[in-house]
Symmetry: D2
Subunit: 346 residues, 4 copies
């Protein structure tokens, strides 16, 4: 009953198998000139219906976000994001490092989503070209959000409109893009560039890979500095197949979507059971695979005693105890049912 | 007959197997709090006979070098290295990126090794504490060198003496540390901290791993900023086992040494055959697994026609054509013999 | 009737005279080894009753703040300041530039002052040593604040207490330190290091100098990197007397205090007259030389028509129009009186 | 008899007077929107016969060079300069700071000048677009050089040709541009943009100003980031007139040229006398106002005893003692004559 995080689990057997085969196959061109890497880019072009996109494998979400943003914002730039965004809350000044000093500005909104009106107001400030102020350069949204909610295409478009009106670029931190897509049910294109996203951190690590992300530039021109930035950041592998073979298997036969579908389904099963119990309350709608829930103390105690694992979470109301539970590609439905039966008994 | 580079080959079956097992084993603590990572540090402590060393898995040699040097040199620091050093010749300002602006100074010497007298002279300049000059902070040596030669412990000690006399730190880029050790035949401790090395980029990628290095601080106090630097560089994996499982298997049962022994033996077999042929000439002694050799044009043409792969290399003498051949953990002796028989026939 | 800003005015005759004399006096040791620079440091030691402080002339407030903060915060550091602080609101990512990437966190409070309770809460977050979060490193307060208010020594001490409890350094942006001191009436020591300030940007430009500030480290050990940082920032003058002669005259015979006293007195005269008029309202108490005031539209129109100059200022209440008026060392009381008579007539 | 440096002397009376008047004249628009600053730009446009150039006052040569180069080179860029260049020899990693990590490459040549053939060779390396290597971005030449020699327009053009062929920008560190121009006798345009210079650090400090330089972009498009870079570097003054009034007077009535003419004339007078003496030898031709000369020990001792001041200088030949003597805008011919009579007597 481990619901701690989707970044603590193992990897999907098909991804493990792909990496094993890739490394058992002898020599291959180095630094990304190999077949796996080419194939990943082609798969992403097909998937996103964008034959001219440029895509690059990267090790971590932090590097993916940092490198993507550095292609959008100069050192004197301003990057707008939600206060809960991973880049703002948990990446230890990595955006500043990769951009050589750009600054994050927080734009709030309910349930982890930027309020488009607040964003429009923030971007309407008279700072453009004025040397005393950071220059608005990029907006970054997280999909699914850090509250487990999902932006609908039209919500993204509303943000993209003011982003582009002022000449900024729209970045999407898609660490859980698969879970978002599985929830929303549209096409990958509709959830990204067709809604106005310029560059996407396309996550795989949390959804069944070992450690792999892809930075996807829908406007290839925006990528022209990327490879130099990746190299000087120590993120260009000689044996790039380590990342590419993962992504190749991840994208093949819709593995990425079935993984996300499973995780989301497990979350919904857990939510359905939990919310039926007295004293529980959701902090946010559960769109993807993260559940933020208030539980009574005795219920929590019983679950802990039975070995259930999950994180406490800050709650706004005094005395109330909230928790985060995360499902993953490999969550066992029996664990869900056992969890619920303990909770129910409590 | 691929002698292009030891970074183009696959990975050793035991390393592949270790990664597969690690990811098939379900959940594990994230961000390096897992068993594999702990075990790697303990193996390195045993191996280097240094119970208080601090070691950290990293993805690439460029990141390993950059992060290690950033712990040694401030932004206004000077780092001394050989002109052929990877940090100087092939890492695209990564040292400047990780150090926030330190500067490399080149100290020449024969066959890829820093001349200790030239280093002593460079470090004796009256720049210490003078605000107009970069402040000497670190010396970086490469083991084995980019010319395929190996520093003996006493050669390292000679460099370490002037390094430490002036308060600088000694970094070793050990991308091919295993090959060097296999050649020299002393203990890992004797080839590193006992000779004065403060921090080592301990390579595995070129010697049978997929992509993994360890930054090894023999003085743990020097590592106190490392984890923050690694995180903000996007080099902290949530599923750290991807790197640690590789290193764990690499170090187990002396796999790392037997891999290097094989590569070196193959190099020696190739050298023995080549130097017996008329018109060939070595540019440098072949201590490790890299061979820099002048070959007559017709010999090169025949080898190419037969499908042999290796890189051309700059030669100082006009009209002369030099080449680099690299052996690896998986070099097939039959390829060597076939190569030599073609060369001999030519 | 120019009340636009204290950074638009000229310089005090004694400062002009001092610079003229300094440059007419022939050769002098370069890069700060001159008599003027030594004298400035000694004057500051006397003034602050701190014989071991270290002080360095700098060109601008932005450089002064950036260099001071870079001595307090590593690239992965967090710096806490009020949302209105100059470093947060008007210095275009200069703190990020000088610190190589530290991040500002805003702690609100009324009238431009950090609320010490909110600061204590912010600093009590469990982020210390946790690699995912920026590490709290410094608190920066502005004296006088950007709202024209002044921190009393005990208010500073309350902030210093939580700052130091967690091992952070306390920086004071004293662009208008003189105006604050003139208001509060204590000793310079009581308003700085005795209240817990570790490093002070001691402003002179806004108070009668041409362009000169001093970075004053009350803990000289904190200054050990300063000179290298200043040099590589292009802020070390060969003819340092340009800044030092200004500061020397500024500190001589209490010129700095009489200048500030005049500016504050003029502000109080203006406030007394304005607040007596119907329809005016102060946004903040006027402690120093900045007045933030709501005026009726017709009053504003008449003043503008008569040639009065001052800036509009954002107001929270819709329909209300607020303005900022700033007095300076050279404000003519007749201008005040004329301004008030026009306002009264309106 | 102070021949230590042209950066130790005072300032020309007309420049002192201009600064005094500027600051006695009351309020003026801040941050460079003042008349002095506009006038300086117009004077430079006339002087360089380039109505569309963009020029910006800056405090120091180090800032001027760093900011100019940052507009030419990305963080992964390579900047080529002579080993003696100020940016390479004495600015403590300031170029790396301002460029966020670009790297200097040294191209040697006799008497402080880049050898155009060596430069052409360096720029012909096959590194363009290859991610493993710093990308050639700018060439920086020093005029007059740090050896006191002057590039003729055709020498600059030879360097500019290979610079531009490869798409790099040509920067000129003109800390002693006036001395160079006075020697060469052509027009400012011929010595700069007509010969291929893209951006010039136009020095004034060493030639009679207090502390002022101008960054002159002959291609205004290259300047589009300049003002943001200057601001975040803390180099934008609120009372910009401090720098602009100096430059205004410096350029008025050819003061800058008459100052340089005097300094050069004094250098020539000194050289004529010195080279007539037995045992002296020039290290380089004396084109501008710096003299590098070997003197016999007893001559040096007598001069020192008589109070002459100048710096020792490294000499290549063992046993030989070399010295640097610098003349300035205010060098007294009587000091020259006295120096020579002592030297002659020795």
């Amino acid at each position: 009953m481990n619901f701690r995080s989707d970044n603590e689990v193992g990897a999907h057997p098909r991804i493990i198998e792909a990496v094993s085969r890739a490394f058992a196959s002898g020599a291959a061109p180095s630094y990304g000139a190999d077949d796996w890497t080419h194939r990943v880019e082609h798969r992403l072009r097909d998937l996103f219906e964008k034959p001219d996109l440029a895509a690059f494998p990267v090790l971590t979400g932090t590097a993916s976000n940092g490198l993507a943003l550095a292609c959008c914002a100069p050192p004197w730039g301003a990057i707008y994001c939600h206060p809960t965004a991973h880049i703002a809350a948990e990446e230890t000044n990595a955006p500043e490092f990769f951009t050589s000093g750009a600054r994050l500005f927080r734009v709030d909104g309910p349930a982890g989503k930027i309020d488009p009106k607040k964003l429009a107001e923030a971007l309407a400030q008279p700072v453009y070209g004025v040397v005393h102020f950071p220059q608005p350069a990029a907006v970054s949204i997280t999909q699914a959000t850090e509250c487990g909610t999902v932006y609908a295409p039209e919500e993204i478009a509303a943000i993209a409109t003011s982003t582009h009106r002022h000449g900024l670029k729209l970045h999407m931190d898609g660490a859980r893009f698969a879970n978002a897509l599985s929830f929303i049910g549209c096409s990958p294109a509709e959830l990204s560039w067709k809604a106005g996203v310029d560059v996407l951190s396309f996550g795989a690590t949390k959804n069944g890979a070992m450690a792999a992300e892809a930075v996807v530039f829908f406007d290839a021109d925006l990528a022209r500095e990327f490879e130099f930035r990746r190299k000087r950041g120590g993120h260009l592998l000689s044996k790039m197949r380590l990342l590419s073979a993962q992504l190749d298997a991840y994208l093949a036969d819709s593995l990425w979507l079935s993984n996300a579908h499973h995780a989301n389904t497990m979350a919904r099963r857990l939510v359905a059971g939990l919310t039926a119990l007295k004293g529980t309350q959701l902090l946010y709608p559960v769109d993807a695979n993260e559940i933020f829930v208030v539980m009574p103390a005795h219920m929590h105690d019983e679950l802990q005693a039975a070995g259930a694992q999950y994180h406490p979470w800050p709650s706004d109301r005094p005395g109330e105890r909230a928790f985060r539970l995360v499902t993953a590609f490999d969550t066992n439905p029996k664990d869900i049912d056992r969890f619920l039966s303990i909770a129910k008994a409590a």
